[in-house]
């Protein structure tokens, strides 16, 4: 086998220019997959991280029917005290659940006494919220001494765009006006403690206040929780925990519904498109490898018919001739992949040093692309398998040649 490999490698470099050109094409495909894959995967994971760790949590629980009318922020679809207690008990029994945060979500009017605007509000217990969306504190622009107390009673965090629109400054007083579930209107004055950076998707442009203030504004005797956001220990536990909670929600008397962030955020569609694009790029790579290797090996066989006749005549078994040409195709794939992976990873490394900053929606994203080792292995395996597959037909043809016919070929 060692000798076959040596001969195969030498054969590859008989026509150096052709081999280098073809290898470059395959290597380019590998680089494309690695660089594009690295960028896309990093973009996706960073965006998912932002969405789940700064706003949505990994999962959310609502009262049945809430998500259908989520755009209206209905206050009549809340979790009753017993339901809340039952949900909290369940969440505490699931070891994968790191934290959860009950929220009251409602629509309100914000006024600086001169101008008024609509605002979506999220009323939270700051400590629980900070545990559930641990990156949220980073979105706050203003001085926060303790992230567990990012909002105190009497304070409000106003979204960045509203701050600009209403010409508000940190420390200003505003009035928040809201209608409760019974239709009565109430208002509460609040001081702006900081502002929040906008995030793509639902909950991305919300104001924040303490749940006690919301209870007072909405004239609730007890906080009527609209939403419970859940943070898991590890992201890959999402499916397992979702299944568990879904089972609970499907119980006959249950009045709750469970959704993953993917079911709630439009970014999930973008993430799926990103996955699809990665797949398309992989198909492009497969096509490049298939056509390149098939082409070069077919040419190689046709150019060497007389030589195939010679090696067959001196007694080389057909299976060895097959192996010789298969190894040539495989070796080309191997060399090209190695070069492509090296250049691709090098490019990602440079991008990592430079850091790619851009704005997505209204979010500032700094991308440090990297690619999981498993993806690189998948790319390498794809190229290797396709190289063997593409080289098989010409190799088989070579092994089936009758020596007497091949020797007579000029």
């Amino acid at each position: 086998m060692k000798n076959l490999i040596v001969i195969a490698f030498r054969n590859l470099f008989r026509n150096k220019r052709r081999t280098i050109l073809t290898s470059s094409l395959i290597a380019f495909g590998v680089i494309l997959v690695i660089v594009f894959g690295g960028l896309a995967i990093s973009f996706k994971s960073q965006m998912v991280g932002i969405l789940t760790n700064t706003a949505m949590g990994d999962l959310q629980i609502h009262s049945k029917g809430y998500v259908e009318s989520i755009d209206n922020l209905p206050l009549n679809l809340t979790l009753s005290g017993s339901e809340l207690a039952s949900v909290e008990k369940k969440l505490k029994s699931i070891p994968e659940v790191e934290a959860y945060s009950p929220r009251i979500k409602f629509g309100a009017m914000i006024s600086n006494y001169a101008q008024t605007s609509n605002v979506r509000m999220s009323a939270v217990y700051p400590k629980m919220e900070n545990r559930t969306v641990p990156e949220f504190a980073k979105r706050i622009k203003g001085k926060i001494s303790n992230p567990d107390e990012f909002i105190k009673p009497g304070e409000i965090l106003v979204p960045e765009n509203l701050m600009k629109g209403l010409s508000l400054k940190i420390g200003d007083e505003i009035v928040l006006v809201a209608t409760n579930k019974d239709g009565s209107v109430n208002a509460v004055p609040l001081r702006i403690s900081a502002m929040t950076e906008n995030v793509f998707g639902p909950s991305g442009k919300e104001g924040y206040m303490h749940i006690e203030d919301a209870q007072s504004l909405l004239r609730e005797d007890e906080p009527e929780i609209v939403e419970i956001a859940i943070h898991l220990q590890k992201y890959d536990q999402l499916s397992k925990v979702y299944t568990q909670l879904k089972k609970e929600a499907s119980a006959p008397k249950s009045q709750i519904e469970v959704h993953t962030w993917e079911q709630l955020s439009p970014f999930a569609s973008i993430a799926r498109i990103v996955d699809l694009l990665i797949l398309v790029v992989k198909f492009i790579l497969i096509s490049i490898v298939l056509v390149s290797i098939l082409n070069i090996m077919t040419m190689s066989v046709y150019e060497r018919i007389s030589e195939i006749g010679t090696i067959a005549a001196i007694g080389t078994p057909p299976r060895r001739i097959l192996s010789l040409f298969l190894i040539e195709g495989f070796a080309m794939g191997l060399l090209s992949t190695a070069a492509g992976i090296l250049i691709g990873l090098g490019t990602l490394w440079i991008m990592n040093i430079i850091k790619i900053d851009f704005t997505f929606g209204m979010m500032n994203v700094s991308l440090a692309p990297s690619i999981p080792a498993s993806e690189v292995i998948v790319v390498a395996v794809i190229v290797m398998i396709v190289s063997l597959f593409a080289g098989f037909q010409p190799a088989y043809k070579a092994s089936k040649m009758e020596p007497v016919d091949a020797l007579g070929h000029n």
Partner: protein
């Protein structure tokens, strides 16, 4: 017992829709350790005869025995194995493998066929390199040596597996007269030294005179046989 025996062998080729009778009812026997030549004009059937003896082709009629084995019944793999063990080939166009050095070209059949230890391979190749006078050129590639040198390498390659028979189809056709004689002499020396049966085809009457047994072919039929060995006796 004969090393090679052909019994009423005929071979018909299909040229388009026209059948071409290349050999007609050939009967011959070749003994071990002889230096044999097939002579005849182009199309007389010399190459076809060599191909049949070399298990590269099968007769349309009749039987070919090599070492008392009917080689016509072999499948592709059996033919390849038999050729590898029993027969060496020398070609008109040398047919050396361009990516291999002189040394590696000679070694190649051993790598493909036998699982000989490297030391023994080296001994065999080095010995043959010396015999054909190519020891100093062993690191050169085929495109760096002359036609005569290429054919010497081809002869060494044919002998490296210690075959009983070496078949050479027009081995001197691409060589000048002096070089052709040298190659024939090398082949003759190898017959004497290794006990190999050399069979070569040629259409050059001057070269053919070097053979011990000469079969003259015309239109697929042996028209005369000259056996110098028996004449000497």
């Amino acid at each position: 017992m004969s090393l090679i025996r052909l019994e009423n062998v005929s071979k018909t080729y299909q040229s388009g829709e026209i059948p071409v009778l290349a050999l007609k009812g050939i009967n011959l026997e070749i003994q071990e350790k002889t230096f044999v030549s097939f002579i005849g004009p182009s199309g007389s059937g010399k190459s076809t005869l060599l191909n049949l003896i070399g298990c590269l082709d099968k007769p349309t009629e009749g039987k070919v025995f090599v070492n008392n084995v009917d080689v016509g019944i072999f499948d592709r793999n059996e033919s390849a194995a038999f050729r590898g063990k029993t027969i060496g080939f020398v070609f008109q166009n040398f047919n050396l493998i361009p990516v291999l050095t002189v040394y590696e070209n000679i070694e190649y059949p051993l790598l493909m066929l036998d699982h000989l230890p490297a030391k023994e391979r080296n001994e065999r190749v080095s010995r043959l390199l010396g015999k054909v006078g190519m020891a100093e050129q062993k690191k050169k590639y085929p495109n760096q040596i002359s036609g005569g040198q290429k054919q010497r390498v081809a002869v060494a390659r044919a002998l490296v597996t210690n075959p009983q028979i070496v078949l050479a189809d027009e081995p001197t056709a691409n060589l000048d007269h002096a070089t052709a004689f040298k190659i024939i002499n090398i082949m003759h020396e190898m017959t004497n030294e290794f006990g190999t049966t050399f069979i070569f085809s040629t259409h050059d009457p001057k070269i053919v005179g070097e053979a011990e047994i000469i079969y003259s072919l015309e239109d697929g039929v042996i028209v005369s046989t000259e056996n110098k060995k028996e004449d000497k006796r």
